[in-house]
């Protein structure tokens, strides 16, 4: 039995080996691998996000426009629902038994039985009150309080924008700040200044057990961070002027953009037809959105920023300036009208009879088309240019300096840059080197391959009113209740035309109102400057356009009005612009021309 006597060593060996293996394993788990510490912490900790109240929005006069209101979401943890009196529950919520089952199933499918899901969104305050009393009867249900936006005004929806659930794409772009189901500014100022308005989310850490029940604060709340309220914003809009503009444009399709010239602050930004921002509040949000989306008049389309129109007479203003700057046009330069300008077998006609020959001031006053064909050709056919392309490039740079064919940089989402082609477009169209100024002669009167938005029109006027510069048109006036001025809009942006050349154009525009096509725009006691336009519309009646500013010296308001299918500029656009300028400059006093106002208000161009 000698071999048997040594056998007990095997037991020592096996026991020792096991002890060694276990200790090594424990060393790896507990000492070397530090990830488990974190996993255990995440297991036991639930972060509860504290949503701060969103910043309020005021207009330039301090009128409250957008505020927060409490809404109540009914939440459910399916697994905790026990002994539910379904009848009483359904009665309270005013839903049927089937709806109850559906909602419950949806909650389970979405988040499982253990985590909480929304059972019913935005229950009424009345249902909330009864729930508060009886919540102990409904174990597994609780109410989550959120805030939603409400609007003091029924206008300026396009500017204010709205908030809604964040999209997958923007969650990704946010680098983890937002989570699914959170609310974010979808458009308008809510979107542009989301970062200011939203404030900073806070976090409360709770200790939870395996069933997700909260046991108490995690780590005595030492890791918690408080939420910081969103910043209040003051917009540049004048709420009274805005709603007056919206009223004047009712039953018409069109835009108004009014800018304070020396600051670039947008006083009114009307897109008609518009919609009431309150439609995007509450439970009907979704169906209202669908209704607006399907409307053939496209109320969701933000026209002043996105709709390109043939600039028409606006371009005559700019040609007058470029011509002077290029040294090819002087105030005393005269051209014959001849009721038309012949190019090959095509004639650019003049729209109405007037004296001839005519000088620059007269040409502006009478809006003479042939005059501007001459002016345009004089600019383009300067001997210093080796080719038309080079001449066009020069002209194109002038245009861009006026903000045409570019995004101006307004602080609203989705600004269009309009239509303005580079010379390469014509190279392609006519062949390189084989096009002349005559090929693009319609550009001289703002027709042809060009389109500018009402915002760009208003900006050009602001630029003329300022005699040579503009500031980026913008919506944000002050940040916070300490009224900090946003720095990005302070800088003056000069055109390529010297200040000295602007005065004659301003005088011309004054004459348009005093003796010319826009006499309807005259305001008692205020020298209005303006220019009517009639934008040719191949799809129907011409669009009625007016641009103008007032007063002549030290202008306070520059305005562009477009009324689609409104015919002559003097018919709709000029009176509306005039009424608005009057209303603004006279401190929101009733107009001195009630008949004109009545005609505008009652005018219906939508059949």
């Amino acid at each position: 039995m000698t071999s048997s006597d040594n056998r007990h060593y095997l037991y020592y060996a096996i026991f020792g080996l096991l002890g060694f293996v276990l200790i090594v394993r424990l060393f790896f788990l507990q000492v070397l691998d530090e990830s488990y510490v974190e996993i255990a912490r995440d297991n036991a900790r639930r972060e509860i996000v504290q949503f701060p109240p969103r910043g309020l929005i005021y207009d330039r006069n301090g009128e409250l426009l957008v505020f927060n209101d409490v809404i109540y979401d009914l939440m459910v943890v399916p697994r905790q629902v026990k002994d539910l009196d379904t009848m009483a529950f359904c009665t309270l919520l005013d839903i049927t038994r089937q709806e109850f089952e559906q909602k419950m199933n949806k909650a389970i499918v979405m988040n499982g039985r253990i985590r909480s899901s929304v059972f019913e969104k935005q229950i009424s305050p009345r249902a909330f009150a009864s729930f508060q009393e009886q919540l102990y009867n409904f174990t597994g249900f609780f109410i989550e309080i959120r805030t939603d936006r409400h609007y003091k005004t029924s206008s300026m929806a396009h500017v204010l924008g709205n908030i809604g659930e964040i999209s997958e794409k923007r969650i990704k772009e946010s680098n983890g700040y937002y989570r699914q189901g959170e609310y974010i500014g979808l458009n308008g100022i809510e979107r542009s200044y989301e970062n200011l308005l939203r404030g900073t989310k806070g976090v409360r850490n709770m200790l939870v057990d395996v069933h997700g029940r909260e046991i108490g604060p995690y780590n005595n709340g030492l890791l918690d961070t408080p939420s910081v309220s969103g910043t209040n914003l003051y917009v540049t809009l004048d709420a009274f002027l805005q709603s007056y503009g919206e009223k004047l444009l009712q039953n018409k399709i069109g835009s108004v953009v009014a800018i304070e010239p020396n600051t670039g602050e947008i006083l009114a930004l009307v897109s008609s037809p518009g919609y009431d921002p309150n439609l995007f509040v509450g439970r009907e949000r979704g169906s209202n959105y669908m209704k607006l989306l399907k409307d053939s008049l496209k109320p969701l389309f933000n026209r002043p920023l996105n709709a390109p129109y043939p600039p028409g007479s606006v371009f005559k203003i700019i040609e007058s300036l470029i011509g002077q700057q290029e040294g090819t046009l002087f105030p005393h330069t005269k051209y014959h009208c001849n009721m038309g300008y012949r190019v090959g077998n095509h004639t650019v006609k003049c729209s109405h009879r007037h004296y001839s020959p005519i000088d620059l001031l007269g040409a502006i006053e009478q809006s003479c088309n042939p005059y501007y064909c001459h002016v345009f050709r004089a600019i383009m056919d300067q001997p210093k240019f080796k080719s038309t392309a080079e001449a066009y490039e020069n002209w194109y740079k002038h245009m861009q300096a006026f903000g045409i064919g570019t995004q101006l940089g307004i602080d609203l989402y989705g600004e269009s840059k309009g239509i303005l082609y580079p010379y390469t477009y014509f190279d392609k169209l006519y062949g390189k080197g084989s096009w002349r100024s005559t090929n693009i002669i319609s550009l001289s009167i703002g027709q042809g391959e060009v389109g500018i938005t009402p915002l760009q029109m208003a900006n050009v006027v602001a630029c003329v009113a300022n005699r040579g510069y503009f500031k980026t048109p913008h919506i944000l006036r002050y940040i916070g209740d300490e009224k900090k001025v946003p720095e990005q809009f302070v800088k003056k942006r000069y055109t390529l035309v010297d200040t000295q050349y602007f005065e004659v154009v301003c005088q011309g525009m004054a004459r348009v109102v005093n003796n010319g096509t826009a006499r309807v725009a005259q305001i008692k006691g205020i020298q209005v400057c303006g220019k009517t336009g009639t934008a040719q519309n191949p799809h129907g009646d011409d669009h009625s356009v007016f641009i103008g500013f007032a007063p002549l010296e030290n202008p306070k308001i520059a305005i562009a009005v477009v009324v689609e299918n409104g015919g002559f500029g003097s018919r709709w656009a000029a009176p509306i612009a005039s009424l608005m300028m009057e209303y603004y400059l006279n401190g929101h006093q009733p107009t001195t021309r009630p008949d004109l106002e009545k005609r505008m208000l009652e005018g219906n161009l939508i059949k």
Partner: protein, 429 residues
Amino acid sequence: MMERDDDILKTGTFDWLIVFIYLAMVIWGWLAIYSADFNPVHPEIYSLDQSYGRQLLWIGASMVIALVVLLLDHRVYPAFAYIIYGIIILALVSVFFLVSKRTAGALSWFEIGSFKFQPSEFAKFATALAIAKYLSAYGISFKDRKTQVICFALFLVPMALVLAQNDTGSALVFSAFILALYREGLSGFLLFTGVYAALLFLLAILVDNIVLVAVLSCIALLIILFVRKNRGLVFTVIGFLVLSLGVIFSVDYVYNNVLQPHQHQRIEVMLGRVDDIKGVGYNVYQSKVAIGSGGIYGKGFLQGTQTKLHFVPEQSTDFIFCTVGEEYGFVGSAGLVILYVSFLIRLIQIAERQRSRFNRIYAYCVASIFFIHFAINLGMTVGIFPVVGIPLPFFSYGGSSLLGFTIMLFILIRLDANRRNEVKRAFEI
């Protein structure tokens, strides 16, 4: 000249060391259960509404039973070995007829009122007694084929009964007797082959069959090259290789047709092939998180979040080690391993100093049973063995297991205390 039983404490042969280790483990276990099941509504450690309060009751009962075991004459145990064994077998059989409720999928509990009783916990020491009795009889040699068959039958019968109750874990414990019998002359070759086959089985699941066959063939070829002069050994190696190939190719069949789905999953999780932390791997994952998050020094008594917030299932019974790992850290858990290994080694030391064959065989059985429990329980808790539901003796919550293990250990202590008398008697005869 006969010494009375009540003198056992005076003879100087009473093994106080093993009793101290026992007490240390029981008390540590009780504190761990307190941590694991801590209920702030009943913070008193003696609260009978809670597991820790009831465990205290069981500890008290165990002390009383231990005392009774010590006070009985040492000759009672060999004398009643077969009777005790018979009663337990009857109890195991009657479970099928009397029990209606299943506990954790296993059908192994008697329930009398609120008092639950698990006969398999008592089958372990009963079987150990029976095997010791049988093998220590005069004229019995383990070399006889017949002896070996009866010996195996003695533990395979209760093992089969427990397995039939769907309690795989407890059944597995009975394989401890193979380990114990090695000391009595069971072929080492058999032991080696068994371990080798089990290892091969796991490797066959884990590694591509072709790779495994290639590696094994290379190893066999190398060995043959070394021992080519010894014909017998060459044939043994070739035989082993053929056997191995058989095992490898039968694994797929066994795995797919014999093992149940939940066993597949447990094996796969243990092998690291499935990283299913929400499903089957949940227990092991949370257990590892609990232990791993303990760090070097642990989170402190009652400070474990994993266990206190119930992330670890079965935390006061099978997964009690998690609480130790989380609250006492590497220092504490390594301490527990050392304590346990010391306990096991002490058992072998005790076994080796016995003059009586009955005593020695019984001691080896006891040591092997504790060893298997310890190895499987800690192995699964730290994630190197599939999840098999067996308790960690003296730590896990549970009356039956604590009582069963206490009786098993104290019978050995009682026998050991009398080892001198055995010597004397040997001389008297």
